[in-house]
């Protein structure tokens, strides 16, 4: 089976957010970058399916130089090779542009299974998986929490409000992974050493036959006009050193009479 897993490098969630001087982007000077947490479930699933059914796992990511280290991490977890989609023309891509780049890179390879995280932590758009499926003319199932395989047929559980959708189908398909799907492995020392020898190919816009006007900032249909810190919440009323019964009664009174929420 040929399996692709598309990952994104994102700021560590513990990052202290500082707004860049342009007023519309993140100041990346002191940011640690990691593989987006949901992508790890996608990678783990890719590796499990390959280990059970045979085949190859190829990791893809769009981004600047630093993204190579994220792809090395995926190779260290066990992916067979990686494709780093890097080009000045890719910069400033929105979800539409990213999907075009990824779809162009995935198209020729004939993947049976294409996995994404359900969304990239940070920008939290959750768009690229379904968009790539549409561009490739493939079905998709997003926010998958459980998967069972029978040859090339699968049954997926997709998380919705207070319920699960049960989705059945056959390959090829695009899936996006939600927490609960599996327990992602850590890269072993042996894996980290092996990763250094694995293929990590850099591919640009020309090789993909992409029109630079359709991608990057030029092709973007959405752009951040401003990035700001959220308005500070005013100091709350905190009840301290009170008898538990009195505190409980006072809180209920405040929620009823002042906040009017109960």
């Amino acid at each position: 089976m040929k399996i692709a897993v598309c990952i994104k490098q994102v700021p560590d969630t513990e990052t202290k957010v500082k707004i860049a001087a342009d007023g519309r982007s993140l100041d990346e000077s002191s940011v640690t970058f990691v593989v987006s947490p949901y992508d790890e479930y996608a990678v783990e699933e890719a590796l499990r399916v390959r280990d059970q059914q045979g085949g190859e796992v190829v990791a893809f990511s769009v981004g600047e130089e630093r993204v190579a280290s994220a792809l090395r991490t995926i190779l260290a977890m066990g992916a067979d090779r990686a494709v780093h989609l890097k080009d000045a023309a890719f910069q400033g891509s929105d979800a539409l542009g990213l999907s075009r780049i990824l779809a162009a890179a995935l198209k020729g390879e004939g993947f049976d299974l294409i996995l994404f995280g359900k969304q990239a932590v940070g920008t939290d758009r959750g768009q690229v998986g379904p968009r790539v499926a549409e561009l490739l003319g493939l079905p998709h199932v997003s926010v998958v929490t459980h998967l069972a395989w029978e040859g090339n047929r699968f049954t997926a559980q997709r998380e919705i409000e207070g319920a699960h959708e049960i989705v059945e189908g056959a390959l090829p398909v695009v899936l996006t992974a939600q927490k609960g799907l599996n327990e992602p492995r850590y890269a072993s020392l042996k894996g980290i050493l092996a990763a250094k020898k694995k293929e990590l190919r850099v591919v640009g816009a020309a090789e993909l036959g992409l029109d630079p006007a359709s991608i990057g900032a030029a092709g973007a249909r959405t752009r951040w006009e401003k990035l700001e810190l959220p308005p500070a919440r005013s100091a709350g009323k905190i009840l301290k050193d009170m008898d538990p019964s009195a505190a409980a009664a006072e809180l209920v009174r405040l929620l009823r009479q002042e906040a009017k929420v109960i």
Partner: protein
């Protein structure tokens, strides 16, 4: 119809119109009026025929009804064809969906068909000089991005429970049937059923009140304290990642990053310190209450109200007070 018109996708599960879709329709009406355009509601599902009257109060100029059996369960490919067709035929320039599980899946796929931009999970929409500008939380809610669009149409998904329901009755349009040219037998991947989660409780993402427990719950048995308070308040039970990862409660209850994003009117965090992963999921709640032993816990910085104390002493008393209050009203 034209580019200043707003089309709102109205989601149904079974024969129920989802409340977040009504919020989207209400907001869509406001946007349409500001743009000088018309408001179109697109309703999908065979169970919705008798429910479209619910939409009238929100003032749609047209109601498109796709009540084919094909739409009884959510099939992403078929729904994307439906939505994209409706946008093309109405020439609506703006497409609103609620950022529910369905909206967040359908929006991108339909937007891809139309080569359109989409801003997801927005908490504010403004019309400025005939153009749309939206705000959405990013980086775990630690920053707010203002997004502008180019091209047409524009897709926006709206965070549930954020936008008010404002009635604007007037027209009472007859639903117009909408069919699509789609061969259901070509679906190689198909939703076959919906299974309610165990317990059949209210989902955190849909509840007006959420009571969540964290690390201080110490074990699964103590979640009874959380459930009791949630029940007394008519709310839903939630949990922090720490409690879920410890195996005390199922992942479907998790609020925060790698869990669910909630915006209830009242969020009560019990024994939750307030790690950024948790704050990412609940910081847009209208009123936040923290109950924690540690007065230095970061959750108190976000809280509108709080009690510093032992939750094992406070929660049972709180539940009792709420029951008393509800009993008297």
């Amino acid at each position: 119809m034209g580019h200043q018109d707003v089309l709102v996708f109205v989601e149904c599960r079974g024969d129920q119109i989802k409340r977040p879709s009504l919020e989207a329709l209400s907001e869509g009406g406001r946007v349409a009026r500001a743009l000088g355009g018309k408001l179109v509601a697109l309703c999908a599902g065979p169970g919705t025929r008798d429910r479209v009257s619910q939409l009238a109060d929100l003032g749609p100029d047209r109601i498109l009804l796709a009540d084919d059996d094909l739409f009884s369960l959510y099939q992403p490919e078929a729904f994307a064809v439906l939505l994209a067709d409706a946008v093309r035929s109405t020439e609506a320039g703006y497409v609103l969906l609620s950022a529910t599980a369905m909206g967040r899946d359908l929006g991108p796929r339909a937007a891809a068909k139309l080569e359109a931009g989409l801003a997801a999970d927005c908490t504010q929409v403004e019309v400025d000089g005939g153009e749309l500008r939206v705000k959405r939380p990013v980086y775990s809610g630690k920053a707010i991005a203002t997004v502008r669009f180019s091209g047409n149409p524009v897709f926006v998904t709206l965070r549930p429970n954020v936008f008010p329901l404002v009635n604007s009755p007037g027209k009472n349009p007859q639903p117009e049937p909408l069919k699509i040219d789609f061969d259901a037998s070509r679906l190689a991947v198909k939703t076959v059923k919906v299974e309610a989660s165990e317990g059949g409780e209210q989902d955190v993402s849909e509840a007006g009140i959420v009571v969540s427990g964290g690390r201080a719950m110490k074990g699964p048995e103590n979640f009874a304290l959380i459930r009791d308070l949630a029940k007394a308040l008519g709310g839903a039970t939630g949990a922090s990642r720490a409690a879920v990862d410890a195996g005390w409660i199922d992942h479907q209850y998790q609020v925060g990053q790698t869990g669910k994003v909630v915006s209830p009117n009242l969020y009560i965090a019990c024994g939750i310190s307030g790690a950024i992963q948790h704050l990412a999921g609940m910081s847009s709640s209208k009123v936040i209450v923290a109950i924690n032993k540690d007065p230095e816990a970061p959750i108190f910085k976000l809280a509108d109200y709080g009690i510093v104390g032992d939750l094992y002493e406070i929660l049972p008393r709180l539940t009792e007070e709420v029951r008393k209050l509800k009993g008297n009203s």
